[in-house]
Amino acid sequence: MKNRILMGLAAVVMVAVLASCGKKPQAEIDATNAAITAAQAAEANVYLPAEFAALQDSLNAINAAITEVDGKLFKNYKDVVAKLATLKTDAETVTANVAAKKEEVKKEAEGLMAEIKAVVEENAKLFPKLPKGKEGAAVIEAVKADLANVDAAVAEAQALYDKGTYMDALNKVKAATEKAKALNTEIKEVLTKARIRF
């Protein structure tokens, strides 16, 4: 009886030792990598660069931890699996936050685009009212050039917006808005000086 118990115990110990050699959590690794790829595809590196860099740091640390466990005799991926699960959740959160941030930038770009379009329209309406010369339309080259360049900048910003690169579109439209507003002030000053109603 005593021997049987000893034999049983020995078998249990051997099985336990052999069973403790865990399998690499490939499914979890793939899922986490996919979550990070999704964050990158959502342009987390553009809209939330610090958060995306943190994700990559964590991934690098986990890859090193996996390699470390791989080299051990008794492989225990329990910690790695927990870290992979956390990183996957973090990556998903970042992806969701990117969408929110992108939407915020998009809205800001839309707002500025609407604002600049209104200023451009007003400038276009005011331009013909500028003082006229003896021989037909007055050509104020500087204003004309400014109007053309603001139009070009707005078109560029619109193209960037249509392409979905909202951050670039926002920066482009910011600069164009400054110019359009300065131009608007300049035209109004000339009209006021010339006592032309607008």
């Binding site: 000893l6 860099a53 640390a61 090193a64 080299g71 010369g133 003896k134 000053e189 000086k193 006592r195």
Partner: protein, 383 residues
Amino acid sequence: MSGDFFKPGGRAAMHRVWKHILLITPLSLFVAVMGFLIFYPVPKPPAGEMEYARNAISAAVKQGAGTYSQTLYNYALNCYDSALVLWKLENNRNRYRRNYDKVTRYASLAAAKALEASRDSEANTTGMNSSVLEKINSVMKTDEEIKRRFSKYPLPTEFRHNISRGQILLSEARIAWEEGDYVKAQRKIEEAESLLTAAYEYADADLRNYFRAYPQWKTWIDTTITESRINQDYSIIVDKFSRKLVLYYSGEPLISYKAELGKNWVGDKRVRGDKATPEGMYRIAKKFLHDSTTYYKALLLDYPNEEDTAIFEGMITKGQLPRNAKIGGMIEIHGNGGKGSDWTAGCIALTDREMDSLFSKVSIGTRVTIVGSMYSLNNVLKR
């Protein structure tokens, strides 16, 4: 022993012995193997070194090394990746024969390069921050100079377009700099600088070339003032660059009016339709009240005078003007001005109130001298 076996119970005893042998031997063997596996010293992987390298790379990323110290940063990344690959390769070897020296070397190299990239990036960022800002400020000054000196200066359409484009790029550079994107800011400011500097240099050269006629203008001015003093009469000097019409009496400036000119006011009038205001010594040929002019009141000048005609014909002869070109005429000082721009076809426009004032003082034959500037270029630039 063999005697015991044949004793009663000897077989059972032997059976127990075998049982012990069968149980204890593998168990002992297992324990021995496990003990060997666990306690026999194996080379330790450089996990600490790898972590240090990773932290150094992470710090380099935060320092913007990916942008501002690309070569060193990429080198550090490659070293880290190589270290990881070598570590994996070592894992495939017999655990007692593993050698992590190379992994350690690459991890240390990765950390060293990452630290170097951090320092380099910090220096570059600081350097770029100030150098780009310096350039932005310098280009802003060029832009301000263009606005101050040449906002009303007739420039070719291409240059006006470039100035405008340059100003938008300047704004983009400033916005990028404020957001810490120094690479983009540098790219934009270089584009802006190229456009604005080229326009400024063109305008400046054109202006200097225009002012080469200053000695001639000075002679005309001195003659006009002397005439006014000797004749105890009115004379008019029009300063195109300052956009001023100055009424002299007895050689002294009496009233200064703000004048508006032809769109292409720089340079002498050459041909009809060039929208330039002529330069020279003229006289008032006719006075028109508002029933005879559409510009409130007008003082017709005797343009073209003999000198203008001689120059014009010389240009036709030299082929500098087409044979069918006309010299033009009907250059007046008239009302309807005060529009804040150079809008006439070559005439000089004053406000109606100023026209009333001038009209009442001058008469047919009053000297009207039109010059590019009453002041030398150096004086003009200092003003």
